[in-house]
Amino acid sequence: VLQILKRYRDLLAVAGLLVVPLAVYVAHARHPGERTTFDRAIVRLARPVERAVGALLAGAMEAWDGTVGLRGAHERARELAARVDGLELDRVELAEVRRENERLRGLLGFAARSLDRPWVGARVVGVRLDPKGLQLLTVDRGADDGLARMMPVVASGGVVGRVHAVFGGSAEVLALTDRNSSIAVRVDRTRTRANVRGAGDPSLCRLDHALRVDDVVEGDLVVTSGTDGVFPRGLPVGRVQGLRKGGQGLYQRADVAPAVDVTRVEEVLVLLSAREGAAASRLDAP
């Protein structure tokens, strides 16, 4: 028997390795229990390898994402940058629209509050405040919209000027700061009469024909008197500053800071006079 065992020991060992585990399995197959200490040790041995390989693979994937995938990231970054630029442009446009809306609201409020004549809203599309020539603003409304020469042009702050020339779809406005502009005014506080004449400087006008004896002080609001046949009465023109009363002469001299900054005005109202406007339109239209 010993010789037989010796002769077939390899086969018996293999048969044992084949059958014993199977028997163990069959014995426990219907009643599986917890892992044995030995089996738990095997699992514990596998865990460090699992963690190490996991960390290695994760690192490799991160490296892949950070290097090879960087090209895609650059393209994505460019796309996002372009999108941010577009959004920034939209934001600026929205802010602009909001400011414009506020200006238009002010203009409409001014029209409803102060004007008893029909009017046409217009947008300033060109500015030529040439110190050597006329100080003109170009608006996008013209004879086709009922505009005519000499029609007053106002903004929510006050007087801007008057229509100087009209074309089919546009018109030129002579700013109140032009040297050729003269507006009949009153000092709002004392009702003193005078004229405001342009000085060729967009930020300055002159107060003309204010008698030396009249009560005028710096800071007085000057409004249209309505006596020049162009502007209706009561529209703000500017504020008195740089008052100079000489020792002699009939008039006192002063500067007037325009109520409307003609360099910044963007929307205006043109006050219509139906009969005169129609006649002027026929004459001035190209």
Binding site: L18, H28, A29, D39, R51, G54
Partner: protein, 176 residues
């Protein structure tokens, strides 16, 4: 009989099982089945002596059992059976190089899975028996394991040479 291959096989199976677990978690979250330790059983079948290889295969199978968390013994026994088949095939089939090794690994994985399903159905409680439809996944596991076995061929062959006690018999005749 040397135990070096058996010990090396057990350690290798542990390493491959850990690597497989980590890799499958990162690649698909376990969607793809894989049985890399079975590749070690095939390697034993190609290189090891009978008892040494059977012992190594049993160790690998036991590791698979322990990691699977079910009743132990089933995969240990089946791994020994797969080893014996691989050992039998190394002389009968003219499979060479990495493709041959991959084909044997795929076949071994499928046989291991098939045996496990059938024996579990026979031995386990009726409610816990796996359906035969799971054989599709076993086939997928076999195919993927075969694919993964091809790049392992060269390192395992190098390891076999290092463990070889007799340099003149570096690789079994049918596959060299």
């Amino acid at each position: 009989v040397s135990a070096r291959r058996a010990i090396a096989a057990a350690l290798l199976a542990l390493a491959l099982a850990g690597a497989q677990s980590a890799a499958l978690r990162l690649a698909g979250g376990g969607r793809w089945p894989l049985a890399l330790p079975v590749v070690v059983v095939i390697w034993l079948g190609l290189e090891a002596d009978l008892v040494e290889g059977a012992a190594g295969a049993a160790a690998v199978g036991w590791i698979l059992d322990a990691l699977a968390g079910g009743p132990v013994g089933l995969l240990a026994s089946l791994a020994v059976a797969v080893f014996l088949l691989a050992r039998r095939a190394r002389g009968a089939l003219a499979l060479q190089g990495a493709p041959g090794f991959a084909a044997q690994a795929a076949a071994g994985t499928f046989l291991l899975g098939l045996g496990a399903v059938l024996l579990t159905r026979a031995a386990a409680a009726p409610g816990s028996a796996p359906p035969l439809a799971i054989l599709r996944r076993v086939a997928l596991e076999a195919a993927l394991t075969g694919l993964a076995a091809a790049p392992l061929h060269a390192p395992l062959r190098w390891l076999g040479r290092r463990l070889e006690r007799e340099p003149e018999a570096a690789w079994p005749g049918g596959l060299s």
